[in-house]
Each structure stands twice: as structure tokens, then as C-alpha cells.
Subunit: 360 residues, 4 copies
């Protein structure tokens, strides 16, 4: 159960950073979906390493292969398996961490939990495994496209640099126009410089990715232990390095009064909507048709190019050398991951909602 | 699946605000746990309405009954069912909302999703159902006690009033000494006044509850789609009115550099620990033995004593009258709910961890 | 997970033979189903004890109460909880088995597994808990009625007395016309006599219940690990005392040649069907539209009125006295249970099938 | 959910007969298990086609590759993915069935359910996918070996030829000594001749596989909806062509009286056991320590070398030609599949049982 996500459109993740590769099994994809390979690859390309000098220099084409579930370009209702073979595994780079615990990595906890660990590049704890999630998310996006739901994301903060506009004031189509994936070009430039400086300083920095889901029907999400907001939060907190999630008014909303925060309903002609959207498109755990928007906080990447003090497996004090390839800031490459996870959530809830009412 | 939570220690929630009552089935409680009824009741008492003038005036004893699973005071390994009968259901109070959609309530989304709804007091969407969660959480606490894990929570913010101390600077045993459940008495007093003023103004205000889990073994939580942090987030975001969750350094951590944020390991004699704890006790989704701490953001309660504009079921503009009983600020009563949910998460992961290694 | 059954229409069973009562939570019942209480009670009445001299003499009205999920007579999409309070609990009858293990009962395995057991009347292992299943099955039947699916069952064997007609040669509407629930009156009479003789001899005897599901659409059941036949088998083998399950040609089919066993397709005008039905209405785990029929083997009831040798908790040889109330043959009362379980399977697969194809 | 099996040791099956290959993901294998590749391959070899003239002539080496989860020969607690590439896919052999429905195959039900199907060699409905199950079962066997549980199976019936000895009268180590996998050599020879005659007659025949699980601890299996017997039945009924399952006394047991059928407990010195074993090692859904034994009925293979009447996708009457490669009788190759599925059930329940009691 621990490597699966979803109720109906259920993914099972597998693979390691420096093993054979990483992959995903999708169980529950409806039959007949046209699996646009070019689109899936383009989504993987947005996540892949080596895109610019502010991302890790590991070289991976991240080409994928369908191992099952596809016939004549369409889903068949059988499990779809996607496999992405590792290529640039410099496993030797990791011999020096075989017996040591890198600060704020998962080395210690994996070793203690399992008594054995694949230490090469973080093994199973590497963010490389999100390649499989992005591939599955691309298929979820193809399904959502038919319903009119769109999942977008962008970088809204890097370190102390916060984009002081909300998503409605931005042109999200510009997100891909720069390496930072911030749709505001002036801020993007500043963010790039900040990340580049951090990189030169052999350090790393955190950031925030904002997600926006639009074109939502009313009624997705289940009210008690499968709330749309809770499942989105779970999905985002499953991404490596995420430390926080807020939806709609979020942490700032706690300062407000109910009379200001409440979203008054109004008749928008063809449908009932709300005047404001502090709820972030979810009420009682269920989509109300308004945009769903949320923030995801990423901590600074734990791998830094500086020496750090730590202990080895026997508890002896040691120094961890700054070595290996890594991202100085994870948020630019996290944008497609956030989109993928939100698409997985929405596609799953869309399918699940088919069971709420009887059909003749 | 939508009303169940947990993998091994699995709860299924049922009931409505103004129906027969609310309850919980616990499937997977190990056999032989002494079910201390007095303790379970004391936890329910912390959540129950009518505790002070800053909570709702609904009168509910919230006495509970075991319907199954208990024999001679002990769990038997069979499902434990706890039922809390409703008493003070003023259902007539809700006739006026039968056909209208209250702003920022779940009236509209439930009606659209299901085509039918129990509108009395919010029905299934009422926070009253968390009484069952608190009862189950009390049993989880009894299990955790044997392992030495302690789940605590307290109010750290009300509206703009933020407690400027972290949990290590506080004496958490004082949390229950005041009606706000803030362990800092000076701040608690200010918070009480703020809530009372908001109440007099017929309005509501949001707040933050901080959770602290201590005495943790290393190795709880599963690494990929069952991360301890993600599951805690999911649990908290399942509580009514929650809009945000952050663990460890959270949203503030994004501003830091990796070299400051990383938690250096050190040999603490009997065990390996970390010098700082920006990770919040979780690395790679797994507990590292340090304290787990997190913040939960609650929006202002949607029920206010003021008139609001809205629409009815046919989309006609109407005015919602300020009527009914409610909490001006939900966080004081949310403290035991946050504790209960975190206890459920920890007990579940503790049991699940028994399956990670082979035993002879 | 161990007390729940179903994927979408998911039931969670709770309760014990001599505790407060037995019950069921149904999570995933679509909203808007008219919950005909009279029908639910009539199904419970078919299962309840004390129906004739060939059933146990325990007196239970088996009246039920909705604890949640119902509003103005309809399902709301929230969990439906049904509770049946125990009345005629002669718990003292069971003091003599507190420390002993009755042969072929679950006393020994429960005690060893859990270290504690509710020994009164078998506690959780009592077939009394199937009352909750029958109530849930009644609701499943109400759903299936709208689709045109009918779940029936009848007694086809008692001891060595086997009904030598297949279901197509019988008038299933006569099943309820006698206490044995065999639709062939001549055989029913013989079966009654056999059971009554066994009873007088203070012994018990086994039997077979045949289930028939008609009016099936094509496409229910999932092909690999959720096959319709496998799930039906699982459901039936979950009923107390069941030792075997066969579908379609079953164990006799192994003697056939493929050329005789294969069911040729033919065009039946409005639909494609098969000339023969050795497949029992399921091919590749999926319903093909033909009738589904199957046999369920029940062993003789373990409680007999004779002295038996056994051991106590310390392993000392003892004699178990023939005491208590019980059924001399379980199959007459098992008929509504088999029907209920098959209705639960079919309703669940019907709802699940809504997610196999995309809808606009 | 439809391609996964197990609670803790959970397998997800993928792949098709004539696609890239077939595979399995195992999520929940404890860390530190030595994954003996030679043993896994030897189990696959027992299932692979082309073993003798009474099995299909398709040539597949069924060599496997670990795609994930293994490090230095051991399980790491991460998902283990095993992939078996298809080699001898004569897909062109299947062009003639593209638009027709073969009798008693899954062509019709898949087409109706999904609107699209991979018709090549049965696609997903091919028994070829059980190669993945056998590989996973081999790992389950490696785990069970450490506990002392042994899962064996053998052919006990082919057509009308029934082995008239029970498993205690046989030397199960002789099962692999002949192509039929019947441990009684005289009967095995007769069975071989029967199958070979059926084959020459271009027909097929059914059979029975008997499974025996020995070395069982007391306490495996969960009492209500996860009974050991029900889960074994579900596992067996998930195997292609299975139409029946019976455990212990099974269908024959219905003829017995309770006084004969009951298994008296006795003190066997080091443990409590039973004098007889009509229960088949399971009481109340839980293992009692005695041998578990059961029969699995396989129908005759649907693919025959004779012409058959059927319909095409538009419902036109057509003739299906006898073509393709197939097994004249499936039971010899089904033996390792039955063993694999029973090993998966036992390993899963063993791990799950770790959560029933609290450990300090």
C-alpha cells in the first residue's frame, strides 16, 4: 500500500535513482484513452535534470517505454506500466556515503527502518522517482482535458523573494518562458539570479510552488476522509522536500473574520458561483466549481557543496564532503510534479464521482 | 473508503449532527488493550460543546457507549464500535436553511453532489462527527502510552494574535489551565478577550493549533505514498475548517539556505540524534526519533450571527439570517481533535512498522 | 480491513453474539436510494432464529435501527449504520465453555491469536453477525432491483439428500413455501424429515445452497484480482461453516472435454448470448449476461448435543457437554445470507463498472 | 485495485500475452530477504510452456529481470519489480480472431466491458500473466521457509481419472518426477496417456490440483472478511480456468454428521492439535496449526483444435477455426501457480499477524 496512490485511477511507483530505472503502474485508467506519447514525453522533459545551469547536471534523456496496457495507441483498461531506464548513474560518486548519514537526507531513517539501504544517489528516497509520477500525471491530464479540467502550477517564491501577485493577476501561459517557471518575467529574472548566486556559493535555497486547477465541475472530492483538499495536501506532501501545504486563504486566512472570509453565493447565470474565493474552490471537502488554488512549500535541497558534520553508521563523528550533482533550488523542476500530482487527484476523484449516483 | 482512515488501526466514521448520533468503528485495534473508559470520556469532554462562553452553547453530554469489541474492559481484536447519541438537537433551528445555501458551508456542494442532503445542523458535514474521532484517538493514545509516544497540541494563534514562542519554550502541561488552550497564560488571556470580542460582534475568527509528538521511535512512516508527514497532513486537512498544514520549518523554511536548514547528526550517547530539528522529526517520510511538530491553520467559522447574501436552491438571491449556535473561534475545541488525529496516525504507523522486518 | 467487504459499496461488520448487538456500516451507498424498511426487516426475518423446529430456539426479533445515513427515508451518500440489538442473550449458558475449546469451533484459534476472547455464544465468531450482512444485502437488493438484477438462492442438498434438478427445472418462487427453503416440495419434505431426525438424534448435518443471479448486464467484474467468480467465492467462503464453492460446471466440469464444455456464442436477436452455460455466466472474470449460478457447501454445525472429548486452556483432557441452542442444519437459514452476499457483490461491481469508461 | 492482491505483501500484476511482457510489483516485502534468483527461475521453469508434449508448444525461456527493489541480492523494503519479456509472440497467429468471439474465452466480455481489446493471444486474459504471480510466489516461499511453512501442490484428477489417495498417503517429493505432476506414478502414467489422447483428438480436458500447506503456526488469517479459507479460495479462483474450490472436507463434508465431522482437540505434548482434520487446518477463518489442504477445479482449456460455431463483433454467425498453441490440459502447469498463490496468501497473513498484538 505504501507505494500506491489513488482510489480508482491508482498508481504504484517503483524504482531507484541508480538501479535499473524508475517506473509506474497505473491500474484503473479507463479504456479507450488516446495515450499521446509526445505529450507524455514533453511532460517528462519539463521534469528532467540538466535543463539549465540552475538545475542538476545529471544527464538523463528520461525516455520512457510502455511495458503494458497499451494497444494500438489506446488504453485497454489493463494496467499501464511505464518504465524509464536510468542512464547516467554515476554510482561510484556515492561510495563515500555508503556508511555515513548525510544531514537532512533519508540515509539514517531508511537504514534504521530497514536494516539495509540502496545508498546510491538516495536510492528509493531520490526525487528521481517522481519521473514516474509525472508520466502518470500526463495520462491523468489527457483524461482531464476531455472534461475541461486544467492543472497548472508555477514558482511563486524562491527564498525570501516572493511574487506579490496572485494567480489571477498573472498570465500562466508564460510559466514555461523562463528557466525558473515563474510567469512574471521581472520576478523570474530576480529568482534566477538568486538561485544562481546560491549555486555559486555551493548552497541551496527553498521555494514555493503555487498550483491552480480550473474548469472544475461541482462535486469532486468525498466529504469525510477523502476530502479534495486533504487528498491534494497528501499528494503534495508526498513530494520530496515539501514541508507545507495551504489551500485558498491558507495560513493568512486565520487572521480574518468570518464576515470577511465567507464566500457569498451568487447566481452567475448558467450556474451558481461565489463572489470571492477564500475557500479555494473546495467546501466541505468537495469542489464547488470555482478555481482550486494552493501553495506548496519546499525546503532547501539537503545536498550542498559544503562540508558538514555528521556521524557514520556506528555513531562516530565524521565530515560529509560536498560532492555529487544536485539542484540548488528544487522548485523550477517541481512545477511539473505539482501539476502531475494534482492531475492524478482530480482524475481519480472524477472517476470516483461516477459511483455516487445510480445510473439506469 | 471515504469515511475510513488508517491502514491497520482503521477507523470508520459515521453519523450526523442532528440524526441519532455520531460514532466510530475501529477495525484493527490489537487485542488486550485496557480500554480506560474514564480517559476516553475525559477526551470527549475536552471536545464537547458548551465548555465556556467562547464555545457554542449547544448542550451535549457526549457520553459514549461501546456497541462492540470490548470484553471485560479489554479490546478483543474485533471491531470496537463507539456510539455517542445526540441529545440537544434543535433541528427546528435549521428549517430556515432547508432550501438555502449558507456561504462557505457545505450546503451547496453536498446538494449538488448527492441531490439530497440532511440539512439539519450541517448533517454529515458538521464538526460534531469529530467526537467519534476523538474517542478513537483516545484509544490510540492508550496504545501509544505503552510505547512512550505522547501526542499534544495547543493553540498558538488566534486571528492576528500569534504566540511568539516555540513549543520548547512552553510548559505544555498548562494547556488545559485556560479556556483557550494556550499554555502561555498572558497570551491566553489576550486570545480569550479577542475571541470574546469577536463573539460579541456576532462574528468569528480563525486560528492555529500546533501539534507536538514526542517520545518517537526511529522508523515510523512509510517512504513514498504513506509518508508520516503526508499522512499527518492528510489527517489534519480532514478536520473541518482546516486550510493549511506545515511540519518542522514549514513555510518559513523556504527562506533558508540548505547549510542553515540541514540538521546535523550527532551521537547523543544512547542514540543518534540531530543538533537542530528543522526537519520536524521526519526525514524521507520516516520518523528520525526527534520531536514531530506541526501547525494547523483553521479558517474563521462560517456560521456568523450577521445577515449575509446568498442564493437558494433555485438560484434566487436571498438573505441568510444570523441564527443557530456556533463557536466564535474553533481552535480551543480543535486542540483535542488535532491530538486525536495525530495519535491515530502514530498508532497506525507503529502497528504497520511491525511488518517491515521478518521476525522468527 | 478485516471486517470490511467491497470496493465501492463497502460494508464494515461489527458486533458479537452476546454483546450489545450486531451491526453494519455501509460506506458508498449512492445517494437517493429509497430504503424500504419493511423489505429490510423481511429479509432479516428470513435469517432470524426460531423460525421452525429445525432451527435454533434462540428468540430474537432481530428488529433493526438506523443509526446514521438516512434522511427522510432515503440514503444521503453518507455511511448508513444499521444496528440490531441482542435480546435473548443467555450468556450464562456459556460459562461452562469459558476455559474449554469446543471441537471445530473457533474457541482455540481466537484464544491463540488474540490472547483474549469473548467466549459467550462464540462472540465474534458467531453466525449471528450475518444479520448485519443480510441487512446490508437487502439494501444492495434495492439497488439491483432498479437495474433488473435478481439474486436468489435455495437449498439443493441436505446431507446425502441431493436435489437432482438444476435451477432451470425449478420454480424458485416456491423456495419460501417450506421451512427448508427447497423449491421442490417433495425433496423439501424429505429434507425436513432428515434434519428433524438428525436433531432428535442430538446431531447436526451439512448441506448445499445454490445461488442464482439473473438479469445480469454484460461487463460486471474485473478481470485479474477482482474477478466476479473469485469475489463471489470469497463472499461465500466468508460465511460461517462454508467449506466449498463452485461456479457453473464446477467440480463436475473437470471431467468434460473442451469441445463439450465450451459455450458457443449465438445471436439472440437483441443481444449476443451463449447456447449452453457451463461458464456459469462469467468469462474471464466478467459477467457475460447469462445467469450466474453456483453451489456453496456448508459443513455440519459444530455445536452438537452430545458429549465430546477436548482440552481446556491448559491442555488438560476434558469432556464438552452437549448444551446450548443451535441449528441442526444451517442451510435453511443460510439461504438469505447467500442471497445477501451475492447482492453485495453484484451491487459493488455495478458501481465499480461506472469507472471503466470515460463519460462526458 | 483490480490487479493487486494482498494486504501487506501486496502484488500488482501487469502485462499481456503478446505485448512487451508480463510482470509483477511486490509492495510490502520485508527488507533483508535474500532473493535467490536461481530458485525464482526454477519456479518459473516449472510453469513455463513447452515442458513436454502435453503442454503448449510456445517457446518462452521465461527469464526474468529485477527492475527495482533489490540491492546486493537482498530486498530493501522498496517495491520489487520483476519483468519477464515475451519472446515467442506469434501475434500474426491471432489476426483471425481480431473480430470474432472464441467460445468460453474472454474475447466477448472484454470487448463489451472496455470497447477495445488486445486480442493477441488473449492479451490480458491470457494465463501467461501468471508467470509474474509465480515469481512473486517464489519470493513468498523464501519468506515462508524461514518460518517453516511449506506450500505444495499436485495433480489429483485429470478428467474422470481421480487419484483415490489423500495427500497423507502420498510422497509429495515425487510430484516433480513426472510431466503430469501427480506424485503417484501409476496414476500419473494413466493421466499422461489420457491427456495425450485428448491432445491427439484435438480436444482438451479439465482436472483438479490439490494444495497442501504444512508447518503452519496457529493464528494466521483474520476472522470475518479476511478469513484464511476465503482468501485462499479467492486466490485460487483468480487463476484462469478455475471453477471450484473446497477446503478440508469440502463438498463431501456436507454428507457427514457433526459428531463425525468435528475435530476433537487433544494435547500433542508440545502443542494442542486435533485428532482428525476435516476442518482442513482452518477454524473460524484462522489457522489452527494442522495441515491446510484444498482442491482446485480447472475446467477444460477453451482453446481446442476443432472448428466451433460462434459470432463476430456484429453478431454474424461464423466458424472459429482450431488454430494456435495451447495446453490440452492445464493442471500440470497449474501446480506451481497454485503453490505460488497459496504462498502469497500465507506470507501476507504472516506479516499481517504481526499487528494483532502489541509489542513493547
Amino acid at each position: 500500500m505504501n507505494n500506491s496512490f489513488g482510489n480508482i485511477f491508482k498508481i504504484t511507483s517503483f524504482g531507484e535513482s541508480h538501479g535499473q530505472g524508475v517506473g509506474i503502474v497505473i491500474d484503473g485508467c479507463p479504456a479507450g484513452v488516446e495515450l499521446d506519447e509526445q505529450f507524455i514525453q514533453s511532460e517528462l522533459d519539463r521534469r528532467k535534470p540538466g535543463q539549465s545551469r540552475i538545475t542538476t547536471q545529471r544527464k538523463e534523456a528520461d525516455g520512457f517505454e510502455f511495458l503494458s496496457g497499451v494497444f494500438e495507441g489506446k488504453s485497454t483498461g489493463s494496467p499501464i506500466t511505464i518504465f524509464i531506464r536510468n542512464q547516467d548513474q554515476k554510482s561510484k560518486d556515492y561510495d563515500h556515503i555508503k556508511d555515513i548519514y548525510r544531514p537532512s537526507h533519508a540515509d539514517f531513517t531508511y537504514q534504521e527502518k530497514y536494516g539495509v539501504r540502496d545508498y546510491r544517489g538516495g536510492g528509493r528516497s531520490s526525487a528521481r522517482i517522481t519521473a514516474g509520477w509525472v508520466a502518470a500525471g500526463a495520462i491523468a491530464k489527457l483524461i482531464l482535458k476531455e472534461i475541461g479540467i486544467k492543472c497548472q502550477a508555477f514558482v511563486s517564491q524562491v527564498g525570501e523573494l516572493k511574487l506579490e501577485k496572485n494567480y489571477l493577476e498573472l498570465d500562466l501561459s508564460k510559466t514555461e518562458s523562463n528557466d525558473v517557471r515563474c510567469p512574471d518575467e521581472v520576478t523570474a529574472k530576480k529568482m534566477f539570479e538568486l538561485i544562481d548566486n546560491v549555486r555559486k556559493n555551493r548552497d541551496t535555497v527553498g521555494g514555493v510552488v503555487t498550483g491552480v486547477i480550473s474548469g472544475n465541475p461541482v462535486g469532486l472530492g468525498e466529504p469525510v476522509f477523502n476530502k479534495l483538499n486533504a487528498t491534494l495536501g497528501f499528494a503534495m506532501l508526498s513530494i520530496n522536500a515539501v514541508k507545507g501545504f495551504e489551500l485558498g486563504s491558507g495560513f493568512d486566512g486565520v487572521k480574518m473574520r468570518g464576515s470577511d472570509h465567507n464566500d457569498a453565493f451568487e447566481n452567475k447565470g448558467s450556474e451558481i458561483g461565489t463572489k470571492t474565493n477564500h475557500s479555494g474552490g473546495v467546501q466541505g471537502g468537495i469542489s464547488n466549481g470555482e478555481d482550486i488554488y494552493f501553495n506548496v512549500a519546499f525546503k532547501p535541497v539537503a545536498t550542498i557543496m559544503k562540508d558538514q558534520s555528521s556521524v557514520d553508521g556506528e555513531g562516530n563523528a565524521i565530515t560529509v564532503k560536498g560532492k555529487g550533482r544536485h539542484d540548488p533550488c528544487v522548485v523550477p523542476r517541481a512545477v511539473p510534479i505539482v501539476e502531475a500530482m494534482s492531475a492524478l487527484v482530480m482524475a481519480d476523484f472524477y472517476l470516483l464521482a461516477q459511483t455516487n449516483k445510480l445510473r439506469g
